[in-house]
Subunit: 373 residues, 2 copies
């Protein structure tokens, strides 16, 4: 067996996605170390969550079975992104940084990491959906952009582990023309509207469905963070930019918020939830209007590439439309292209959850490994 | 700008898929030669179809705009796969062989090509769905198998350009457990049954729908080549092998042929088409039985991984099932996995046609380029 090639992995963020990723990393490490042709020695050298960090000055590996206790008992001060970049750039092997946070400061440092030949894989939308300059700086630095630094992949920023970004890139790179992208991009919104207005009738009041979704853990702790549409707007920003549109920010196109104007000033999520039933009449009216046309209401995002028209909000769909037939909290993404004609290329399935999100991150990590070898 | 890296491309097969591929290759060549970070000089050095071949002894490139006339006027003798491998292995740059045929002899030579460090990308199912030994020899030789030869990719062998194999591999490599794969894997069968028994009723007799599909160019010249189910059986063999099942050949599991026993002996496709209406009664009976249960009949393939149960044939589906709702000649592939739970990861869209098939081939070529650089 040939000598194993050493690759270092640094992980920031050890919540739901981070834990699922570290579990997948553990499995992957075992498998790769026994590859007959090119064994790879994947070593975890840095692990951090918001207030804790664990690493060794001499880059000696952290045990992947005891990182949780190592992290819990660590008394190290959490370094700044600049300090992390400095530490990782001096490592005696190639480093892949896995950012499992949704932190803006870490995302702002991607160009710095990439410039220092540190590769980045992440489900963090902030780096790719904030101001356009950050997006440009990232791909100017990255080797899979126009630079010569590390590699960057972010499949899980849209649709979690579903192969959304890789498929869009394949379509473009093989010379297809993207006409329109349309879909349900939020597991929360999917669950909410599939329950509020199922095909065939039924469903409770809007506020009751939001309450149910919150109780089942389908919403953020404060449901306004889902209902404002910003999460979907960030995903649309990413897809539109890959499609060639220079979207300045998620605030550059119309995004319908489901937070009633009158409740914008609520001081807490609890106050908001208490007052939401006052607006059930408005949502019921929308539901009845759609039902009269034999349609259902769904919260969707769409990009018309030629018209440079990006939007997020409520739309009506025929009961037979794939978007109407969606189940549970699934996402659906339809690519209408010149090559695929009137029937789009459709990708559908769970677009959230720790394991599914971590899957996209791990698959990206494997892509970087192949490129580094 | 750094010096361009030279990569050679050899193309066998210049029919519908081959022509669409060469057109995509032409576009790609232009784009890659102007990449700011790593310009790639992709050069076509070999082009062949069944009875014609064109190449230069000194490996000087073939013009991508005039390959058709160069090929037409060539008087060279078509070399054997061994001779092709010998010629390509001595080229002064890395070579990617693109096999756009459905030829068995070429497929049998993949281990030879790969062993000589020639990479292979292909929509040709023969290499991956014939006897198990050939499959094993291919991946023993390939660098993305357990060997150290060329790279091999064959996305378009299932679902044309749809990201079916890459998604299945991502699921497995990131540690998910495949429970079941189910879908409509043939554009012809999809069109035929979506017309014969649309959701909501209607549709002509089975023989009339086969005649219509043939006239519209949706079937092979002899429709028996679709109706025997072998094309679907080959695709299932590939998916099952990637999922870890050691399927000896497409004849190792039950495949329902839609060619009535009594017509097995027909000497020509024409004779078969003439006699097919005699069996419309049987197909109508199936249709009515399904309708009574509120279901439709579809021609599907499925793999139950734990039970090692692979099968191809007619099955009944509720009108609300995604397989029933399929349109036109689209394919649909559902991955039921441990991670995705009860709602599968679904990929849907055109699974045939020159452009869509060539897309998978070109995307594979780009993957090999990234690995070679």
């Amino acid at each position: 067996m040939p000598a194993a090639r050493q690759i270092f992995v640094a992980v920031i963020g050890a919540g739901g996605v981070g834990k699922a990723f570290l579990s997948q990393l553990s499995q992957l490490t075992k498998r790769l170390s026994s590859e007959p042709s090119t064994p790879i020695n994947l070593a975890l050298i840095y692990v951090a969550r918001s207030s804790k960090v664990f690493f060794n000055e001499d880059y000696s590996p952290i045990s992947i079975s005891s990182w949780e206790s190592d992290l819990a008992s660590s008394t190290r001060t959490v370094p700044s992104p600049t300090q992390i970049a400095d530490y990782l750039s001096k490592a005696p092997a190639s480093v892949i940084l896995v950012d499992n946070t949704s932190n803006e400061d870490v995302a702002n440092a991607y160009p710095l990491f990439l410039g220092k030949k540190i590769s980045v894989v992440t489900p963090n939308k902030k780096g790719f959906s904030s101001n356009l300059k950050l997006w440009q700086d990232i791909f100017k630095a990255a080797s899979n952009g126009t630079g010569s630094g590390g590699y960057v992949f972010h499949e899980s920023t849209v649709g979690a582990g579903l192969p959304v970004l890789s498929t869009l890139k394949d379509l473009i790179e093989t010379g297809d023309e993207i006409v329109k992208i349309e879909g349900v991009f939020s597991g929360t919104m999917s669950f909410l509207f599939n329950s509020f207005m199922p095909v065939g009738g039924g469903g409770g009041s809007f506020s009751a469905e939001v309450t149910k979704a919150k109780e089942l853990g389908y919403t953020e702790p404060d449901p306004r963070d889902d209902l404002n549409g910003l999460d979907v707007a960030r995903k649309l920003t990413i897809l539109a930019r890959i499609s060639g549109l220079e979207i300045e920010s998620p605030a550059s196109f119309p995004v319908q918020s489901l937070i009633p104007n009158e409740l914008e000033s609520c001081k807490s999520g609890d106050e908001f939830m208490k007052r939401l039933p006052e607006f059930d009449g408005e949502m019921d009216k929308l539901k009845q209007e759609a039902a009269k046309e034999g349609k259902v209401v769904r919260f969707v995002g769409s990009i018309d590439v030629a018209e440079k028209d990006v939007k997020v909000g409520l739309e009506k769909f025929d009961a037979s439309h794939p978007i109407a037939a969606l189940k549970g909290s699934d996402n659906i993404i339809s690519f209408y292209t010149k090559r695929y004609g009137s029937n789009p290329l459709i990708i559908q399935g769970a677009g959230a959850g720790g394991d599914a999100t971590a899957m996209g991150v791990t698959a990206d990590l494997i892509k970087v490994l192949r490129l580094l070898l």
